[in-house]
Symmetry: C2
């Protein structure tokens, strides 16, 4: 399967969540089993030589790709959640939104020191969430061996904020 | 691996999200690759004779088990999301919470008529969310061949509200 096929399955939704924004709808990618499997295959092939210990997925859509990748690679899955959702002791990081700020968390015992972790989310836009997630994992002294996105909106230049990390996106 | 091993990995968190509630923390299940793989294996074995077309996962933790199960079974994944998150035209269902109500949605083109769908969530408590999700899928005339939970709080009797459907839970 070519990347063109995957790209063609992304649905553009104009004016969502507000006027002037073209939203990239990934639900058709998930609905098609061949495309979904191919995406997970491509992600997994990047790590065939350096097996990660954990996949950390960012709530909510990062859970979908992250959990499937964890199963494929035979590693554990770490949910990075919005503040207040995780029941045990957590570490947290705030990040700026267009209006106001948001906070994400992981459990303090989510990963061991120096554990090899891949961070997964569906979309790299300005990079605010991803940077916060990286900081969270660094608080726990994880070794972040890769940051994986399905779609990258390159014009927003989020990648520059993840300088020093291996950052991959399937579709730019 | 025995169910006892899986059950032992669930962490009880007292007084979360509020005093008197014992929260069942599934993050240790996800963190352990052998346990996570075994859970998905057990779920998948139930459908080796009746292949589903889609797995519908309920946001957010249903995404984790649902997406992995979809990959394992080679079928598509349908996200059942909180209201306002899905960008395309949706159908929606409301359900009661302890205080107030909530709403979940799927895209109108999420499943074809008579498509075989398995609904997945992490926890069966009172069953409110699951019943709403079942109604959503019935609005689209899906054939719901199973409703799968990882944990069932049997004393809340949510199962009785899903009468007429095949309902399974791993740990009761």
């Amino acid at each position: 399967m070519s990347l063109t096929t995957i790209k063609a399955a992304i649905r553009d939704i104009p004016d969502f969540p507000k006027p002037g924004i073209i939203y990239k709808d990934i639900t058709p990618l998930l609905k098609d089993p061949a495309i979904f499997a191919e995406i997970i295959e491509i992600l997994s092939e990047r790590y065939c030589n350096t097996r990660p210990d954990y996949i950390a997925g960012i709530e909510s859509r990062g859970f979908i790709f992250g959990a499937a990748l964890a199963l494929k690679l035979g590693c554990g899955f770490i949910p990075v959640r919005k503040a207040g959702k995780l029941p045990y002791k957590t570490v947290s990081e705030s990040y700026q939104l267009e209006y106001g700020s948001a906070e994400i968390e992981v459990h303090v015992d989510a990963v061991e020191k120096n554990a090899k972790v891949i961070l997964v989310d569906d979309l790299l836009a300005t990079g605010g969430t991803a940077v916060a997630a990286v900081k969270l994992l660094k608080q726990l002294n994880a070794d972040i061996i890769g940051v994986e996105f399905i779609i990258e909106l390159a014009f927003l230049n989020g990648r520059s904020r993840l300088d020093g990390y291996t950052v991959n996106s399937l579709i730019t």
